[in-house]
Structures are given as structure tokens and as C-alpha cells.
């Protein structure tokens, strides 16, 4: 419905702050890892689909982009040099250039276990579920 809360909760979840107000105060605002597309009364958020056969992982020139045993596609930021090959190949446009060198992408909020975008979507427009 275009409220953009997912964007803010995503950025907050990855800000390392315990308070949202704190996370967004200061000059460098935390960065969301999803993109919202908006058209005539159509809105949707796009984040990493954690593809079965992830082009980004296979194309990554450094080996930073990986798929773990649970199927989660994640980036080892320490190994990412920001060449953007993943951006070039991702069919969903789900990899986002980071403000620093490394790229940013959805990590399914692995630390909390519950993706903040889905947890906080007021309209169940984003749901977190496994698909075969």
C-alpha cells in the first residue's frame, strides 16, 4: 500500500541500533536492502528472492556472494570489492549498491530470525514463507 515502512524497518534492523529514532538520527541514515516500486495504485517491495540457482552467487568474482545450507543467499561484506557484477545479473534488481564499498542485500534478518520487513508490514503484503 506504499507506506514504505518495510524500507525503514529494514534499514533499522541493519543499523545495529536498538532504537529506531536513534538509528535515523545523525547524518548517515541506515540503508534499506529492498526497493519499493510504485505505480498507479500499485506498490510492491522487492527484496532478494534467495533464488534456487542464484545468478549473483555464480557470477560473483570474489566468492563473497554465497548460498548457505539453508538456502539463504548472503554476501560476505569483507570479501566484496563492489564490482557490481551481482547488480548486473540479478533479474529482480535486488542487490543494492552500498554507501561504502560492499553491496547490500536482504539477509532475511538472520540474526533475529524474522525478516523485519515482513514482521512489520501492516497489511501482510510482505510475507516470509518457504517455497519449494
Amino acid at each position: 500500500m506504499g507506506c514504505h515502512l518495510c524500507e525503514y524497518y529494514c534499514a533499522f534492523a541493519h543499523s545495529g541500533k536498538i532504537d529506531m529514532v536513534k538509528a535515523f538520527s545523525g547524518d548517515s541514515k541506515p540503508q534499506p536492502r529492498l526497493t519499493i516500486e510504485e505505480g498507479d495504485s500499485i506498490n510492491f517491495a522487492v527484496s532478494c528472492r534467495h533464488c534456487e540457482t542464484p545468478l549473483c552467487v555464480k557470477s560473483c568474482i570474489t566468492g563473497a556472494m554465497q548460498k548457505d545450507e539453508d538456502g539463504r543467499v548472503f554476501v560476505d561484506e569483507s570479501r566484496c570489492v563492489g564490482c557490481y557484477t551481482c547488480i548486473l545479473v540479478c533479474p529482480y534488481g535486488s542487490v543494492i549498491p552500498g554507501k561504502e564499498k560492499a553491496i547490500k542485500k536482504c539477509d532475511l534478518c538472520i540474526e533475529s530470525g524474522k525478516p523485519a520487513c515482513a514482521e512489520n508490514c501492516p497489511n501482510l503484503a510482505i510475507v516470509y514463507e518457504e517455497r519449494g
Binding site: 557470477s59 564490482c83 557490481y84 547488480i87 534488481g93
Partner: protein, 409 residues
């Protein structure tokens, strides 16, 4: 089953992963003339400028060979393939038997026949880690560096050295930088950006001779240097297959399953030719992702699977001094462009399809464009006007979007 892989880069690693999707048991032997654990060649320029440390050079985690039950013969050069006896003969005379063999020998720097170049002082190529190490050894802050070649390798070398050396000149016979991936205007924009960093260009010119520490150019100009980097191109390493009687054009010829004309011999990576889906031509696409996909395909087929790789296309993601450019496909056909001071966008359409694009600066979500090329999505099925504004999934109709994002629900 005995798998043998000659090579240790993306194609080889892709092959191991491909094999292991089907065959978790059989032994894999990997032969590489380089002494290193598998590392990422494109990182050598990052390593040169110190942005990537030694331990981050590796392409896979350090237990990769072990985890994949893979014996790596590092620092050993394969001399010959004996297809009758099904074995690979190494430089030291030893042999390695194979049931299925992958040739992923990559390419070598091309050193042009310029008088005095082959035995010039302090002349280096810039393709593998050892060559980068040699460059680092030779260069210091006061070195005058001349780079022959304004292609991807030459410019990456320039960027890498920029942290170390103040005086860098790039010479190229072409009229622009990155002639293989950019058109003239785009190249101009990138050149300007690099020039701002103090790197000098001499275009439309080339070395005619090297005398002592001086390069004589065709134009008659003379350039003194301390470090000379030769980056005018690469040649695929096709010798092993050619000598064994396999079909080779410019690169090793394979079918879409990555099999060569030799029985049980597959090939992948920079030493092969790929079918460019944008132009329908067979050509060498020396790109890391392409190598990986080819290698993976070969691996699956070597292990008895049936996989084809038929989505190859030219594709480059590269950046210099913070200016990023992403390009893919063919730069021909009807062109849509949007250019301003900082951003450059060209999209090429023909036969009702998106065929290629160049994006410089603003590159967000370019993969959506790439996927339209890869999947040959007819432009009349999507909102192509919206597509030109920005890569976005909104260009698809509701059904297609649901398919992509909600698993069809």
C-alpha cells in the same frame, strides 16, 4: 569415475560445483600451473592498491578442495592430453588418468611484436597474481608508469597503481578507452573521469619500438618509463586441445554442453568460444561469470547430467575511481539514450527485443535489463516506455509480476 580439471579459476571451480550436484563421491583432480589456492584474478588490481589483502584473494573458502574431495596439483603444468590412453601428461613427465576431463586453461597475455619489447627492462604483463606481485615489486612512488592498452586490464592496472605511483600514462591504438565495451561517448565520459585522477592518455597511438627505458611511439613521440605494463589483449590457451586434435577456432570449440570434439574432454572459460545470444556469433567471451556457468555446465555433464548453457552474452561490470559502468549485450540496433553530466544510459533494441545496454553512473537494478536480454522478452509484452525510465519489475503485467515475486499466487 575419475574427473580431472586443468585450470584453477572460475571455470574449474564451477566445474567442481557442477560435478558435486550429481556425483558426491568420485575423486576430482585439479591441475594448475599456478602455485596458489584458487583465487580471483580480477582482484589483482584491488590487491595492487591494497584494497584486498592476501587472505581475501581466495575465490572460495580455504577448505574448498577438501570439502569437495578434490586433489589439487598446484604449480604443475599440463603438457599434453593423450586421448587414447585418457591421461594428461604433466611437465615433469608424470601422468594423471581421467575418465572425464575439463580443459579450463584460460588465456595468456598477448605481447605484440614490437621491436625490443620482448626483452625490455621492467616490462610486465598484468593477468595473474604473480604478475601483479612483480609489478608491485618494481613500482614505487616516483616510478613513471606506461601502460600499453586502455582496455579493462590496462585501466584496472592503472587504477591499482594509482595508489602507488603518481605518473601514469596509458597508450592505446584505439581512439577511445575500453573500446571493447563502450561506445565513443561513453568512453569519453569514463576517460574524463579517470583523467581527473591525474592519469594521462595517449590514444590513437602505439609503441613502435622499445629502446632502453624509452618507448618510441608510432607518432614519433618518445616516452621514458620506469615500469611498463603490456595489456593489449589476451590469447586463449588452446594448445592442449589443438595438439590432441580437437577443434579449435580462435578459442576451443564446444557444444552447448561444453563438450569439445574430443571424446570425454570438456572445456570452459576464457580458452573457449561461446555463442553470443545477442548476435548469434561464436566468440570468446572472457568473463568470469561466463567461465563459471560454462564450468558448472561442463561439470554437470561430466557427471552424467544433461545441462546446456545457452545464455552467454557479453557482460561487464566494472568501475574506476568510484565511477561504475555496467554493460551487456550487443551495442547495435535502435538506440535509446539518456545522458547527463554524471550518468550515461544507452539501450539498444532490435527485432522487438532489448539487445544491449550501457549504463555509467546510475546503475541500480541493471540486472532487470540483463534478464530481459537473456530471456529475450518481447518488448511488446512489457511496458517498454517505463523500462526506459528505470529498470523495474513494474514493466511486467500483473500476472508476470505475481509469477516472479509471489510464486504465481
Amino acid at each position: 569415475m575419475k574427473y580431472v580439471i586443468i585450470g584453477n579459476s572460475a571455470a574449474a571451480i564451477g566445474c567442481i560445483s557442477g560435478i558435486r550436484t550429481i556425483d558426491g563421491e568420485s575423486s576430482i583432480t585439479l591441475i594448475s600451473d599456478e602455485p596458489h589456492f584458487t583465487y580471483s584474478r580480477p582482484l589483482i588490481s584491488y590487491w595492487l592498491k591494497g584494497k584486498v589483502t592476501d587472505d581475501k584473494m581466495y575465490y572460495r573458502s580455504i577448505d574448498f578442495y577438501e570439502k569437495n574431495n578434490c586433489t589439487a596439483l598446484l604449480g604443475k603444468k599440463a603438457e599434453k592430453i593423450d586421448t587414447n590412453a585418457k591421461k594428461v601428461v604433466l611437465e615433469d613427465g608424470s601422468t594423471v588418468e581421467y575418465d572425464k576431463l575439463l580443459v579450463a586453461t584460460g588465456s595468456s597475455p598477448f605481447v605484440p611484436p614490437v621491436e625490443g619489447l620482448s626483452n625490455a627492462n621492467n616490462a610486465f604483463t598484468f593477468l595473474n597474481w604473480d604478475s601483479a606481485k612483480a609489478v608491485k615489486e618494481a613500482a614505487n612512488k616516483d616510478s613513471k608508469v606506461v601502460i600499453m592498452g586502455a582496455g579493462l586490464i590496462g585501466l584496472k592496472a592503472a587504477e591499482g597503481l594509482h595508489e602507488v605511483c603518481d605518473d601514469i600514462t596509458v597508450v592505446d591504438l584505439a581512439d577511445r578507452v575500453l573500446p571493447s565495451i563502450l561506445d565513443a561517448e561513453g568512453a569519453g565520459m569514463v576517460q574524463k573521469h579517470i583523467e581527473k585522477e591525474g592519469i594521462k592518455f595517449l590514444l590513437n597511438d602505439a609503441a613502435s619500438a622499445v629502446k632502453g627505458n624509452t618507448i618510441v611511439l608510432k607518432s614519433g613521440k618518445e616516452l621514458a618509463y620506469d615500469v611498463l605494463i603490456v595489456a593489449v589483449g589476451v590469447r586463449p590457451n588452446t594448445g592442449l586441445v589443438k595438439d590432441a586434435g580437437g577443434e579449435v577456432n580462435r578459442g576451443i570449440v564446444t557444444d552447448s554442453r561444453q563438450a569439445t570434439s574430443l571424446h570425454d574432454v570438456y572445456s570452459a572459460g576464457d580458452c573457449t568460444e561461446s555463442l553470443d545470444i545477442c548476435t548469434g556469433q561464436s566468440k570468446i567471451l572472457a568473463l568470469l561469470p561466463n567461465a563459471y556457468f560454462q564450468g558448472e555446465t561442463a561439470g554437470i555433464n561430466m557427471a552424467g547430467g544433461n545441462q546446456t548453457y545457452d545464455t552467454a552474452m557479453p557482460m561487464n561490470a566494472i568501475g574506476f575511481f568510484g565511477l561504475h559502468m555496467l554493460t551487456a549485450g550487443a551495442m547495435e540496433g535502435e538506440c535509446f539514450e539518456e545522458i547527463d553530466e554524471n550518468n550515461y544510459k544507452r539501450m539498444f533494441f532490435s527485432d522487438g527485443l532489448l539487445k544491449g545496454f550501457i549504463l555509467i553512473g546510475e546503475i541500480d537494478r541493471a540486472g532487470i535489463y540483463t534478464s530481459l536480454i537473456r530471456e529475450k522478452t518481447p518488448m511488446d509484452q512489457i511496458d517498454s516506455n517505463l523500462l526506459k525510465v528505470n529498470p523495474q519489475l513494474m514493466v511486467f503485467d500483473k500476472k508476470a509480476r505475481m509469477q516472479k515475486l509471489a510464486g504465481g499466487k
